[in-house]
Amino acid sequence: MNCKDILEKLSEYIDGELDPRLCQDLERHMEDCCPCLIFVNTLKTTLTLFKYAANEPMPKEVHLRLHDYLKKECQGL
């Protein structure tokens, strides 16, 4: 497996959907190829970081306005 091949398979690898033998090939390549290893690490970290982006809880006023709105629109109150 060369570096370009790795790139194409990365999402499947990270999602645990890659054939086990290809996984092994990929991991063996990364043992010897530091830039690819860094690339994979930065990709994994990117995904982890994005899970925290815009993660603030919904403000209470938004909740209250939503329910008021729905009461009016859905029931004609």
């Binding site: 690490n41 990117t46 815009a54 919904m58 709105y69």
Partner: protein, 202 residues
Amino acid sequence: MAETPDQFLIEKIKAGDFGFFEALVNRYEGKVYRLALRMLRNQGDAEDALQETFLQVHRGLKDYEGRASFSTWLFRVATNVCLMKIRHRGTEPTILLPLENYLPRHEGGEHPPIKDWTERPEEALLSKESREKMLEALEKLPVDYRAVFILRDMEGLSNAEAGEALGISVAAVKSRLHRARLTLRGILSDYFEIKEPQRAPG
């Protein structure tokens, strides 16, 4: 105690009980708001999308037969509401920047320099500025790629659920997701590689 299944609430709502609709809304409003905020990046628009989504849900429930799970159907409605809002803005990039701009170029078999910024402390990676950068990066993705990334990697939907929400095949989900991920990694790397780690004072 196990949570009342969505289907139970839905039966009651179809029978005319509005209180059960409010319970259903309570169950999912946080998720829908978060999705809208991530798609639209603007609290006012997100709130509009939130209200519009549940209004459509209430109207659509009489036709909802339970073939897809309720949450999948809800995400489909919410995603479409957000996509419509984005398309009406008319300011979105429609061309995905060439992926090659964000990939290490392997010219002549040589790797270009790549920095491992993942070793930075959490406070640096999740600082207010970094979070802003992440949202800006998301906005650089064309909306179809952005939606897939948000649904899969931020909201945690499966490939099949994301496909249902967007009306595209699983293969399309996977291919867009892959491009979106690599592009976002590239944008973030540009940012983190330039930013020097903060030195402790004193």
